[in-house]
Amino acid sequence: MAEFLSEATIKERLDAGVPIVEFDHVSMRFDANEVLRSVSFKVAHGETRVILGPAGVGKSVLMKLANGLLMPDSGEVRVLGRSLNEMNESEMFAMRAHVGMVFQESALFDSINVEDNVAYRLEEEHVPPAEIHARVVEALQFVELEKAIAKFPPELSGGMRRRVSIARAIVSRPQLILYDSPTGGLDPITSTTIIELVVKQRDVSHTTSLLITHRLQDAFTLATHHFDQQTGHMEPIPDGGIDPGTKFLVINEGRVVFDGTTQELVRSDDPWLKAYLS
């Protein structure tokens, strides 16, 4: 398989401040429906970018564009400084080794068990079996689901499937994690559990991430909470603090209507944004 970028080049680019993901005037259309219109934004190393917006405005499409699962009609998507337009299929698969993705409906392989689902990428990379097992157990412990290692996806609840999907995304220690509505369709308590895992991944592993959510409370929980490694739980940042690495991107009708920090978002005078947030 072709190489996307060598480890040394990736480190060099991260040190030089090259954005992990960059959308440059990206437009996308399905038949007559223009889903994204000249969308541009950058996600810096270590940043958590929360993507908000009403249903059907192209958030999931944007996520698939970031991973090369879809290609834009115009504009450019760059991952670690390399344009996806210039990559061949083989380089694209190599690029995806640096990106973990949590799908909206988990997208677990239902004919194999949890262990094999989580181990999937490592097996493809021909990692030794003993190391695969150790890393799978570690990833499942991270999502507190190590007891479900031998179960099959249809035996799991929606929240458990989402947690296995997170374990599958983080097991290869990617540079970027894409969460496509990880709390969609879940009850509030389970949603909080999933958000706690996202916060834990952010604060423990410092992985760059893009997260789509329809629940504003989830987005603001991400911005106002941190993971306390001593207590092992997510807690509010003291003195009403806000996580500086968590930023927002709001999309409406295929356009970026907001790109900035939590403070900028809550202080925005944009009438549509105010109505959306209220």
């Binding site: 398989m1 698939k64 991973n67 699962l69 299929e89 698969f93 190599a94 995806r96 080794a97 990106v99 993705m101 799908f103 909206q104 409906e105 997208a107 677990l108 392989f109 239902d110 999937y120 990428r121 493809e124 990379e125 599958r168």
Partner: protein, 259 residues
Amino acid sequence: MPLASPEALAKKIVSSVQEYSLLSARAVADLFSTPRYIADTYTQMDSIGFGSLPIVILTGFFTGCVLALQAAVTLKEFGAVNMTGRLVSLSMVKELGPVLTGLMVSGRNTSGMASELGSMKVSEQIDAMRALGTDPVRKLVAPRLVASVVMLFFLTIIADACGMAGGAAVSVILLRLNAGAFLHSSYMALQYGDIVEGLVKPLFSGFIIATVGCYYGLKTTGGTRGVGQSTTQAVVVSSVFIILVDFLVTQLMIGIFGR
């Protein structure tokens, strides 16, 4: 359902042919480069080959039985009932063995492939596979292609053998013919070209079964209803293709071997 304009319909057909050709070409090209999913290929061989064995044996056997019965009625009028074995063997080896095996395996496996891959497509498992760095064509289509072509070849031989056994059973038990004479006339009727023709056809049928099943599975949209539609279309198209290609291969073989 609104009627599509002729232009839109033509574009759709051309687009489908292009997509099918590209998928088939990629699946074949993937066989000549790494990584190769050998374990998946063996799993598919077990599923397609061993799994289809009962229907192939039963279909072959009873087709041979019916052929012997029908042939004997006509041959009796000419006093040539001893030629029953010749007719059964030629029909089974050249035509009925390959075509019926292809159709039976198509009904069982094209639908299985289309529904399995279709379910994976609508539940985003195909996208997940790509996101995890695996080429779905290499992982899902290429092993099914190899398994179908290889196993259909052997299943056809088994169907031919079962057909001749069925014909022999009817000839001996019901028509009171001599078993040795039946088998001798069966054997003597077959020439090199007949065997080649009978064994070339399943290679094409296996290719059609795998590529059509996987193509319809991978292009599935529209949830569970879409999976059902893809499955039905896959079986219909592969069955028609098998019969069409059978005709073309027969023409070709007559051109080459003169019979």
